[in-house]
C-alpha cells in the first residue's frame, strides 16, 4: 500500500502520524486518572505501528508519476479483508452473547469486560460499523471508480479514510469493554471517538465528491446516488445525535445535550435512519452495481430507480418515531412516524422489485452461480424485511411487538438476510476481479457458504418470530379473574428453547463467514502464485451495460 505513495506523500504520512502519536500521548498523559488514558495509549500504539510500517518501506521504489490510466485498488483490497475480519469478530461475539442468554453462567471469568451488557455493543458495532462500514467504504471506492471511469481523487486520503475509520471502530469496541459507553443505541462511543469519526467522514465525503468531479461519464450512476446519500445523511445524523458536553477535555464521560422526550426522538431519528442510510442506502448502492454486473443484465427500470431513491431519502427520515409508540412522546409525532413508515413500503418494494426484475432472463445464472444467488436472496430479504418493518410500525401491531424478540428477529432478517447477503455477494464478485483471477479459489465453498448463511438466517429469524410473539402474548394475557396470567419470569423461561435455536442459527452464519474467509485467503494466495489475468482500467470498462434504456 505504501509502495503506491510518492516520496512526498510518504513524508506527509510520516508527519501526520507523528502528530497523531503526540495526540495519543497527550490523552494518555493528561487523562491518566480516567479511562480515556487507555485510548490515549491505543492511539499512540496505532500511530507508532503505522510510522514503523511507513518507515520500513520508505526507500522502496516510487510509483510512476501519472497513474490516471489505472484504478487505485489497494484500499479496496485492504477494506475487503478488514471487513471480513470484523465480520468474524462481530459474529463470534454475537453468537457468544446469544449463548449467554441460553446459560448466563457461561461467562467463565468473573470480570466486568466479559459481561453481556458490555459485549452486546461490541457485537452490534463490529457487525454494523466494522463489517458493514468497511464493506461500504471498500465497495464505494471500487464502484465510484468503475462507474466514473476514473481513478480515485487522491492517494493518501483513501488510506486515511479507511484506516481512520477502523481506528474509530477500534476505539468504540475497546471502549465498551473498559466501560466507556454513552448508552445511545448504535451510537455508543463517547464524544472524542465521535469527533474523530466526523473528521474521517468529511475526508470521505470530499474524496467521493472529487472523484465524481473527475468522471468521464456525463451522468452519475444510480449506485453513486445511494453512496452519496449514505455519506451525507449519516454525517448529519451522527453529528446531531452525538451532541454532548464532555466532563473535560481529558475525560471520556459526557452528557448528552438532549434529555428525556427530545433525546428519545433524536435518538430514534438517528437510530432508524442509521438503518435507512447506513444499512439500506449504502447497500442499495452496492446492489445497483454488483447485481446487474454479475447477472450481465441492465437495471430493469431507470425510472423506478429514481422514484425509489427519492422516496427512500424523503420518507425514511420521518419514520423514527414508530420506535416510540404509546410512550410519553406526543401522539402526533407517533402518528406521523407510523404513516410515513407505511408509505415507505412503496419505494422499498420499488427497489426490491427493480432488483428482482433485473434478474429476469438471468434465472439460470441465479441457479448456477452462488454469488449471484447471494444477491438474489438479499433482494428477497430486503423486500420481506421492509414489509415487516412497515407492518410493525403500525401502532396496534407495535403494541404487541415492541420490547420483544420480534424486533431482534426483524433486525436480523434485515442484517443477515439483506445486508450480509448482499455484502458477501459483492465480495465474492469483487475478489476475483481485484486479484485478477477467473473465479474464486473454490466456487463450491461459495456454495457451502451460501447454504450455511441461508440456513442460519432462517433458523435465527423463525426462532425470534416465535419467541417475540409468545413473549408479547404472555405479557398481555389475562386469566378468568381478570388479572395478568403470567409473571415476567415465566416469559423468560418460555424463551429458553428459542434462545438455543437462535444461538445455533447464529453459529451457522458464523461458520459460513469463516468458510468465506478461507476461500478469500486461498484466492489471494493463488493470485500470488499463478499468473494473473489482465485487470480492468478506466479505458476498458464499459459502463453502459449496467443501464437500462432511458
Amino acid at each position: 500500500m505504501i509502495r503506491e505513495l510518492t516520496t512526498g506523500q510518504r513524508q506527509a504520512a510520516l508527519a501526520f502520524l507523528a502528530f497523531f502519536a503526540l495526540g495519543g500521548l497527550f490523552l494518555a498523559a493528561f487523562g491518566r486518572a480516567d479511562p480515556i488514558a487507555g485510548h490515549g495509549w491505543l492511539v499512540l500504539a496505532v500511530a507508532l505501528i503505522s510510522l514503523f510500517a511507513v518507515l520500513t518501506r520508505y526507500y522502496d521504489p516510487e510509483p510512476a508519476a501519472d497513474r490516471s490510466a489505472e484504478y487505485y485498488d489497494a484500499p479496496v483490497k485492504t477494506g475487503i479483508i478488514i471487513a471480513m475480519v470484523w465480520a468474524v469478530v462481530g459474529m463470534f461475539v454475537g453468537d457468544w452473547v446469544a449463548w449467554l442468554l441460553v446459560n448466563p453462567n457461561l461467562t467463565f471469568v468473573d470480570q466486568a469486560w466479559a459481561s453481556f451488557g458490555r459485549l452486546r455493543p461490541v457485537h452490534t458495532t463490529a457487525v454494523i460499523f466494522g463489517f458493514g462500514g468497511n464493506a461500504l467504504i471498500a465497495t464505494s471506492f471500487y464502484v465510484v471508480q468503475r462507474t466514473c471511469r476514473t481513478r480515485l481523487a487522491g492517494h493518501l486520503s483513501p488510506l486515511f479514510v479507511l484506516w481512520g475509520y477502523n481506528l474509530f471502530c477500534l476505539l468504540a469496541v475497546t471502549g465498551y469493554l473498559w466501560g466507556i459507553n454513552q448508552s445511545k443505541e448504535y451510537a455508543e462511543p463517547e464524544w472524542y471517538a465521535d469527533i474523530w469519526l466526523v473528521i474521517v467522514w468529511v475526508a470521505y465525503f470530499v474524496l467521493f465528491l472529487r472523484t465524481l468531479a473527475r468522471r468521464k461519464e456525463p451522468h452519475i450512476y444510480v449506485a453513486n446516488w445511494y453512496y452519496l446519500a449514505f455519506i451525507l445523511v449519516v454525517a448529519v445524523l451522527h453529528i446531531v445525535n452525538g451532541l454532548a458536553l464532555p466532563l473535560s477535555w481529558t475525560q471520556a464521560k459526557s452528557y448528552s445535550l438532549f434529555a428525556g422526550v427530545q433525546d428519545a426522538m433524536t435518538q430514534w431519528w438517528y437510530g432508524h435512519n442509521a438503518v435507512a442510510f447506513f444499512l439500506t442506502a449504502g447497500f442499495l448502492g452496492m446492489l445497483y452495481y454488483y447485481l446487474p454486473r454479475r447477472a450481465e443484465r441492465p437495471i430493469f427500470s431507470y425510472r423506478l430507480s429514481i422514484i425509489s431513491f427519492w422516496g427512500i431519502t424523503f420518507f425514511y427520515m420521518w419514520a423514527g418515531s414508530h420506535h416510540l409508540h404509546y410512550t410519553a412522546l406526543p401522539h402526533w409525532v407517533q402518528t406521523l412516524g407510523m404513516t410515513f413508515s407505511v408509505m415507505l413500503l412503496v419505494p422499498s418494494w420499488a427497489s426490491a422489485g427493480n432488483a428482482l426484475m433485473t434478474l429476469n432472463g438471468a434465472w439460470h445464472r441465479v441457479r448456477d452461480d452462488a454469488t449471484l444467488r447471494f444477491m438474489f436472496v438479499a433482494a428477497v430479504f430486503y423486500g420481506l424485511s421492509t414489509f415487516e418493518g412497515s407492518f410493525m410500525a403500525i401502532r396496534s401491531v407495535n403494541a404487541l411487538s415492541h420490547y420483544t424478540d420480534w424486533t431482534v428477529g426483524h433486525v436480523h432478517a434485515g442484517a443477515l438476510g439483506w445486508v450480509a447477503m448482499i455484502t458477501f455477494g459483492a465480495i465474492y464478485a469483487s475478489v476475483p476481479w481485484l486479484w485478477k483471477q477467473k473465479t474464486m479459489w473454490s466456487p463450491r465453498l461459495v456454495e457451502v457458504h451460501f447454504w450455511l448463511a441461508l440456513a442460519g438466517t432462517l433458523i435465527y429469524v423463525f426462532a425470534m418470530w416465535n419467541s417475540g410473539i409468545i413473549q408479547g402474548l404472555m405479557w398481555r394475557t389475562y386469566n378468568e379473574s381478570g388479572t395478568l396470567a403470567y409473571s415476567f419470569i415465566q416469559s423468560v423461561e418460555a424463551m429458553h428453547p428459542y434462545y438455543i435455536a437462535r444461538a445455533v442459527g447464529g453459529l451457522f452464519f458464523l461458520i459460513g463467514a469463516l468458510v468465506g474467509c478461507y476461500n478469500i485467503w486461498m484466492t489471494i494466495r493463488a493470485a500470488q502464485a499463478d499468473h494473473v489475468l489482465e485487470g480492468d482500467t478506466p479505458e476498458s470498462a464499459p459502463r453502459a451495460a449496467l443501464e437500462a434504456g432511458r
Binding site: 442468554l101 451488557g117 451525507l232 448528552s256 410519553a328 431482534v408 388479572t483 395478568l484 423468560v492
Partner: protein
C-alpha cells in the same frame, strides 16, 4: 419530472444539495417542535434531581449497558400499567441526559422499580441473580460490591448537568463529594447535609450493607431505589398535557 432528473444527475453538487434538502424535512418537522411546544413535557413542580450518589449509580447503569435489556418507559397499555405501575410521563425523564427509555425487555421494565424491593434484595440479586431467581438469565455483577465508587469528580458532573438545564444549586455542586459519602452514612452530619439539600424524601441508607466509603453497589442500588420516585406526577389523576 424524469427530464429534470436527467439534468440533476449530471451535477454532483446539485445532487448533494437535493439530498440534504429532501432528507432534512422529516427531522425538522418532527423534532424541532418538541423543543417549542409547551405541552410536550408536563409541569412537575415536585420534581427532584438525582443526588450525586444516585447519579454515579446511573452512570454505572449506563456503563454496564443495563438499558440494553431493561426499559424505563411504561406504555399507555392496560397490561403494562397493571404489571409495572402508572404509565410514564415525559416530565419524569426531563433531567435524563441521555434518556434511558430502552427498546427491549429481556428483563422487566424498571421505570418504577424504586422501593419495590429491599436494598438487601437488590444487592444479593446484582451479586448473582440466580441466588434469588433461579430461572433468571441476567448477568451477575459480583465486582460491584468490592469496587469503590468513583466520587471525587462528582462536582464536575453536577456542574455539567446544570449547564444543560438540570437545577443543581451551588451548594449541591460544592458538596457533591461529601454528599455522595453522606448518603450511605445516615444520622451523621454529612447525612443530614444530604437531606437538607435534596429533601427529606431522599433515601439515606447504607445500601450495600457494608459500612465505609460508598461502593459501586451502593451507587447502583441508590439509583434503582430512586427510579420512579423523582416526582409523583404519574400518580396524580389526569394532569394537564397527558393524554
Amino acid at each position: 419530472m424524469f427530464g429534470l432528473h436527467y439534468k440533476l444527475e449530471k451535477k454532483a453538487i446539485a445532487l448533494v444539495l437535493a439530498i440534504i434538502g429532501v432528507s432534512s424535512i422529516g427531522g425538522l418537522v418532527e423534532i424541532a417542535p418538541l423543543f417549542t411546544i409547551d405541552q410536550t413535557v408536563e409541569e412537575a413542580p415536585d420534581m427532584r434531581v438525582l443526588t450525586p450518589l444516585e447519579l454515579a449509580g446511573r452512570n454505572i447503569y449506563i456503563r454496564e449497558g443495563c438499558n440494553a435489556c431493561h426499559s424505563q418507559m411504561i406504555r399507555t397499555l392496560r397490561d403494562e400499567v397493571e404489571r409495572y405501575g402508572p404509565y410514564s410521563r415525559a416530565a419524569e425523564s426531563q433531567y435524563d441526559h441521555p434518556m434511558l427509555w430502552g427498546s427491549k425487555r429481556t428483563g422487566p421494565d424498571l421505570a418504577r422499580v424504586g422501593d419495590k424491593y429491599s436494598d438487601a434484595w437488590h444487592a444479593a440479586h446484582l451479586n448473582n441473580p440466580r441466588d434469588l431467581v433461579p430461572q433468571s438469565v441476567m448477568p451477575a455483577y459480583p465486582w460491584l460490591a468490592r469496587t469503590p465508587a468513583r466520587i471525587d469528580d462528582l462536582g464536575q458532573h453536577l456542574r455539567r448537568l446544570r449547564q444543560l438545564g438540570v437545577p443543581y444549586t451551588d451548594a449541591m455542586i460544592q458538596n457533591a463529594v461529601a454528599d455522595a459519602a453522606g448518603q450511605v452514612a445516615p444520622n451523621t452530619d454529612r447525612g443530614w447535609g444530604v437531606a437538607e439539600r435534596y429533601g427529606e424524601a431522599t433515601n439515606l441508607r447504607d445500601f450495600d450493607g457494608q459500612p465505609g466509603a460508598p461502593t459501586e453497589m451502593d451507587a447502583l442500588v441508590a439509583y434503582l431505589q430512586m427510579l420512579g420516585r423523582q416526582t409523583n406526577i404519574a400518580r396524580t389523576p389526569a394532569s394537564e398535557g397527558a393524554e
